[in-house]
Structures are given as structure tokens and as C-alpha cells.
């Protein structure tokens, strides 16, 4: 057994979260927005937990990648984005889908592979998409969707709308070629696109710093694309919201792209039943203590929101998650009827006459 922390990652020094930035309490954010974010945090958390339970019950097959612990990023952006804006996410896209308003039941049913899923069961957990909500897809091969987000932003630019495309991706994604190509093109064409790196410190089971030439995989590379280095607290919905607002309005006003690195942590494993054993002692715990939900709960209390109001939100969310679960379970398994549909725009898959 190697006992060298360079290779046995569990033996490394833990990487600790930033302390809460108390000054954000005074940030200029409406209470309504904040309560909305509080609700969304809960929704994403409860949805993720339920998906995990259903996976363990073997109702979700295949795989599933949760954002437990990372919900503040989707939440903050979801609150700042406008109807018509475009979201492009990864396989870890549940939170981003819900943050844009995807129906909870249709999302859950998709994880279960049911006919009433948002993709009729064809896409599955890694591909949640709801174009009617601006959720333009979850992409399961690293890198591509940054380039696709550029295209949507280019389209908005050509159509003269003020839509912005936002691409979310992980720290590990900063090392693939498509990242580089996307950032360069976005800048030279001044595209209304925001690139959001969710730095949760790991690419699957490998610590990001082991495989990356710079300490902050996105922020330390911003200047290579003529962009400003932006590093934010990805566990603080307010910090995310403010950064999102700024980047979105820069994009809307013709100021071009932004690259934001949001520091965060996933409290669970990478996917499925990954126990996350590669993480050093104390790290999970330290980040759990910086979990966005209790932190934001405290912030709202200290801003004068009554506890009862918060717990009523929590109860409403719990009910909604239960209802979504029932809806999903009630769906039928898809069958022959949809197997061969929608490869092509005529609705079918015929490749011959």
C-alpha cells in the first residue's frame, strides 16, 4: 500500500472552505429573492436526497450525479437569470434544471425512466432538458457544452435579444480542450455567455490540484482569454447571486463573456454509490459545517425572518418532493411506441426509403 499523499489522496491535507463572509448579510438583495433562494436550496437538496434514496431502492437505474452541498450555485444563478436565458449544464444537472423551473415530477420521473419523464425516459439522469424553461440540456461528455453555450449566445446576439447563455461545469472540465476553444471564441466574438466553474475540488475521484497546472483552475486562466479573474464563495447563495447579476448584466449590455469560479464541495460521492473514500479525514466534516442551507437559514433569521416562515417553506418543499415522487412512480415504462421516434425532425428514425 502506498502511503504517499501524492498518490493516496485520502492522506492529503484537507482543503478547507472559506469562512462565511458576514458582510454579505448587508448586500442589496430583496428579501423576496432571498426567500425564493431559500426555498430553492431546499428543493434542490430534497430532490437530490430523494433521488439518492430511489437509487438505493433500485428505482433509479444506471447512474445519477447529485449536487448535494453545491446547491447554492444553481440557486444563486437561477434567481439572477431571466426568462429566456439559456442554461447549459453537465450530467450533474438536476439542480440547474430545477433552478430554471423544471417540473419536479417530470424530472423525477425521468430519473426513474418513465414515460411521464421530462424526456420520456429517453435521456435519463444525465440529460435533463426543458427547452420551454430555457434549460437547454445536460451534457454528459466533458467540455462540449461550453462550445454549445457559445452558439446559443451567438444566436441571441444575431437575433438582437438580450438573452444570455450560462454554462455550468466542474473544475475537472477546465483541463479539456473544448474549454480553451470555447473561452477564446466567446471573447473574440464578445458573446453574451457566462461560464461558471463549480470547483468542488475533485474530478471524480482525483483531487483537482493533482492534475492542474494552476491553483484555481478557472480563475487563474481567465487572463489567457482576456477576462477578469473572478473567484466566489460557491456555498453562499448571496455571493453567487451578486456575481451572477454582474456577469449577466455585463453580457446583456454587450460587454461579452465572463468566467466565474465558484468554490464549493459535494457532500456525497461523485455518482451512484461512490463512498468518496479518496477524501482526507476532516474535509467532508469541515465543508458540512459550511453547508449552504443552515448558513442561509441563519442569515435569514439574523435578517429578521421568523423561523416559522422558514419552516413553512421547508414543509411546502417536502410536500412537493413527495408529490413528485408519487407522480414519478405512477408513470408507465416507455415502450415500442417511442423507441424509434425523434431521431429526425420528421419525428421518426427512417434512414432509407
Amino acid at each position: 500500500m502506498p502511503t504517499d499523499p501524492r498518490y493516496d489522496y485520502a492522506l492529503r491535507e484537507p482543503r478547507l472552505p472559506r469562512p462565511v463572509n458576514r458582510s454579505l448579510e448587508n448586500a442589496d438583495i430583496d428579501l423576496d429573492v432571498r426567500l425564493g433562494m431559500y426555498r430553492k436550496l431546499h428543493e434542490l437538496r430534497q430532490f437530490g436526497k430523494r433521488a439518492h434514496d430511489l437509487f438505493l431502492q433500485n428505482l433509479v437505474k444506471g447512474t445519477t450525479h447529485l449536487s448535494l452541498g453545491m446547491e447554492a450555485i444553481a440557486t444563486g444563478f437561477g434567481a439572477a437569470m431571466k426568462t429566456g436565458d439559456y442554461t447549459f449544464a453537465t450530467y450533474r444537472g438536476h439542480a440547474h434544471s430545477l433552478a430554471r423551473g423544471m417540473d419536479l415530477g417530470a424530472a423525477m420521473a425521468e430519473l426513474l425512466g418513465r414515460e411521464n419523464g421530462v424526456l420520456g425516459g429517453k435521456g435519463g439522469s444525465m440529460h435533463l432538458t426543458d427547452v420551454s424553461k430555457g434549460m437547454m440540456g445536460s451534457y454528459a461528455i466533458i467540455g462540449a457544452h461550453l462550445c454549445v453555450a457559445n452558439g446559443a449566445a451567438w444566436s441571441a446576439q444575431m437575433r438582437g435579444t438580450d438573452q444570455v447563455a450560462v454554462a455550468f461545469f466542474g473544475d475537472g472540465t477546465t483541463n479539456i480542450g473544448a474549454f480553451h476553444e470555447a473561452l477564446n471564441l466567446a471573447k473574440i466574438w464578445r458573446l453574451p455567455v457566462v461560464f461558471v466553474c463549480e470547483n468542488n475540488l475533485y474530478m471524480e475521484y482525483t483531487p483537482i490540484d493533482v492534475v492542474t497546472a494552476v491553483a484555481n483552475p478557472a480563475a487563474d486562466r481567465a487572463r489567457a482569454y482576456g477576462l477578469e479573474a473572478i473567484l466566489i464563495d460557491g456555498n453562499d447563495p448571496d455571493d453567487v447571486y451578486l456575481a451572477a447579476q454582474k456577469a449577466l448584466s455585463r453580457a446583456r449590455s454587450g460587454g461579452g463573456p465572463s468566467l466565474i469560479e465558484a468554490l464549493t464541495y459535494r457532500s456525497g460521492g461523485h455518482s451512484r454509490a461512490d463512498p468518496g473514500k479518496y477524501r482526507p479525514e476532516g474535509e467532508v466534516q469541515a465543508w458540512a459545517a459550511r453547508d449552504p442551507i443552515p448558513m442561509y437559514h441563519d442569515r435569514l433569521l439574523s435578517l429578521g425572518t421568523p423561523e416559522a416562515r422558514l419552516s413553512s417553506i421547508e414543509r411546502q418543499v417536502a410536500d412537493a418532493i413527495n408529490a413528485a415522487t408519487e407522480f414519478a412512480k405512477s408513470g408507465r415504462e416507455p415502450g415500442e411506441g417511442s423507441l424509434l421516434t425523434d431521431v429526425f425532425a420528421d419525428g421518426g428514425s427512417r434512414w432509407r426509403n
Binding site: 440529460h127 462550445c147 452558439g151 446559443a152 471564441l185 429526425f344 428514425s349 427512417r350
Partner: protein, 329 residues
């Protein structure tokens, strides 16, 4: 009626469609000011301006990603990948993203886009700039695949590809760029999925594509001189595939030959032969034979490249030997 080269026909087809649809845009390397390295986009920047005809960096993934994202949000796009060999650098974008996303999203998105690319050999460019890769595209469910052999077909199939709501990989053959033909004036719109019988015949059928079409025709003429009547079919569109025209010819003639420029294994000829073998078995009077580039990378030297690609003479020899031996013709 005007005489046009194949390369001019490309620009003509694009211009026709850009005039019709003011939202249609183009992007690619050196396509704007320079008019493309094969001079297939000459004049488009001047007519349609720099917002609609855009030069890009050498970033094929970004090019195809931009085409994908724009087309799924309401802007139809023509993307150029300079040489078809370079499809490999953005293959994930094409094969995994564009081709699959409509199906994966249960029909929520469409991709009205055309990826144009210079395909094929005979220009002595060597192994990395000469491949025929139409079978790469044919393999991937969700893509349409077109490869015209004449200037008229270039214009009409370009228009059809652009108007098609699905992603089309459009292969322009380097070896045909300088060929000329009369092209009617006015709008030309062809149809995807229609093969063309370019020569009628009764003894055997030869299916060919792009640069192989004129070679197959030349071979058919040589065969005719010996009293062998070959029907020659220009496939034009691999997906959708006009199996009807193909099977009719095979049934009529009883013998089937394919002429492929791609290297042998898993070429489209194998697909066609397997269709014949399953669906016209009882009508076949002898073995179906594929004439292909050997399963090797393409050599650069003129002498070697000429040996590698199927020539009219090789087609003629192969067919006449096969017909001779056992078919009972």
C-alpha cells in the same frame, strides 16, 4: 444556363439559400475574406457581410459547438470544416452531441445545420488530408449524409441540405472542384434521399459516390465496348439512402458492384452489399463485389495514390473478370 465549376456551384448554392433566408449564417476557417482554401465561398462575404460570413480561429470544436447552439436556438448555420479528415478533432461534437441530442431530449431540440467539408483523395495531399470519411458519418444515427458528384447536384443538394431541419454532413470532393458543367439559371432545389441512375444498363449494377461516379461511368463505357451493359447509380445521399432505386437496379440486373473511395473495412459499400444480400438474395446471379481503396492510409506520391484509389481501369477489370468467371451472364 451558365457553365459552373463544382467549387463555384458550392458558393452558388449557399448564396441562393442565404438570399432566401436572412437568418442563415456561415462560419469556418478562412471562409470570409479569403473565400475558403478551396475557393468554395468566394463572394459570400461581399454579398452577405461579416455578420453572416465569419472567420473563426482554428477551433473546430468551438466551430461545431457554435453551429449546434445557434441552430438549436433558431439560427440555421452552415459550418465549414476545411478538410474532412479534421472532423476527427470535433467528432465528439458531431457524433455524440449533435447527432444524439434530438433523440435524448425526446424531440425538444432540432439542429438545422449543415457541416460542409472537403472530402477525398486524388490531390496528393497525403494521409491526413485525403481521406474519404463519408462512412464515419453514415455510421452515426441522427446524421444525414450527402456527397454530390456534379455542379448541378452541388447546388440542388446544398439547398436541400440547408432546408432540411436535421444536421447534414455535406461532403464536397476535392478531386471534383475544378470540373465544370452547365447549370440552369434560377433556383435549384433537389431532394435528399434520391439516388440517380446516371447510366441505364441491364447486365449489372454499379453504385458509386462523388469522384467514383465519373470513374464508374468511364468503366461502364469500356464494358459497353465489350457488350456488357452496366447500370451506374450515383448514390448522392447515404442517409437517407435510396434503397428503392438501388434494389430495383439490382433485381433488374442480377449483379451488384460498389465503388468506394473509403478504405475497405466498414465502408458504405458493405452496408449496400449487406442490404442486397438480405433483400435481393434470390435475385442475385453472382457474388456482390466491392471495389475499394485498400485498407491502408492514403500515400502522398502521385504514383502511389493512383494505385490506391479505385480507377476506371480497376473498376473495368474487376467487373469484367467477375462477369466472366461464373455469373452465367
Amino acid at each position: 444556363m451558365a457553365e459552373l465549376t463544382y467549387r463555384e456551384a458550392v458558393a452558388r448554392g449557399i448564396a441562393q439559400e442565404m438570399r432566401r433566408d436572412p437568418t442563415l449564417v456561415m462560419l469556418g476557417e478562412d471562409i470570409a475574406s479569403a473565400g475558403g482554401v478551396f475557393k468554395t465561398t468566394v463572394g459570400l462575404l461581399d454579398e452577405f457581410g461579416p455578420e453572416r460570413v465569419r472567420d473563426t480561429p482554428i477551433s473546430e470544436q468551438a466551430i461545431i459547438g457554435a453551429a449546434m447552439g445557434a441552430s438549436m436556438t433558431g439560427i440555421p448555420v452552415i459550418a465549414e470544416i476545411m478538410f474532412s479528415d479534421f472532423l476527427a478533432v470535433c467528432w465528439d461534437m458531431i457524433a455524440n452531441e449533435i447527432a444524439k441530442s434530438r433523440y435524448m431530449t425526446d424531440g425538444q431540440v432540432s439542429f438545422p445545420l449543415v457541416i460542409r467539408t472537403a472530402n477525398g483523395g486524388s490531390a496528393r495531399f497525403g494521409a491526413q488530408h485525403s481521406q474519404s470519411v463519408e462512412n464515419w458519418a453514415m455510421m452515426i444515427p441522427g446524421l444525414k449524409v450527402v456527397a454530390p458528384s456534379t455542379p448541378v447536384d452541388v447546388v440542388g443538394l446544398m439547398a436541400a441540405s440547408i432546408r432540411d431541419p436535421d444536421p447534414v454532413i455535406f461532403f464536397e470532393h476535392k478531386g471534383l472542384m475544378a470540373t465544370k458543367a452547365e447549370v440552369p439559371d434560377g433556383e435549384i432545389i433537389d431532394e435528399l434521399g434520391k439516388a440517380k441512375v446516371v447510366r441505364e444498363g441491364s447486365d449489372l449494377t454499379i453504385a458509386a459516390l462523388a469522384l467514383m461516379v465519373p470513374r464508374a461511368l468511364e468503366a461502364a463505357n469500356a464494358l459497353a465496348a465489350e457488350g456488357i451493359s452496366a447500370e451506374v447509380i450515383d448514390i448522392r445521399s447515404l442517409v437517407p439512402l435510396d434503397t428503392k432505386t438501388l434494389l430495383e437496379a439490382i433485381v433488374k440486373t442480377g449483379r451488384f458492384f460498389t465503388v468506394e473511395e473509403n478504405p475497405r473495412l466498414c465502408g458504405w459499400g458493405a452496408e449496400l452489399v449487406s442490404i442486397a444480400s438480405e433483400e435481393a438474395f434470390w435475385n442475385l446471379d453472382g457474388p456482390s463485389i466491392r471495389i475499394t481503396t485498400p485498407h491502408i492510409p492514403l500515400p502522398a506520391a502521385a504514383a502511389l495514390e493512383d494505385l490506391a484509389l479505385p480507377s476506371a481501369d480497376r473498376i473495368y477489370q474487376t467487373v469484367s473478370k467477375a462477369i466472366d468467371t461464373r455469373s452465367g451472364l
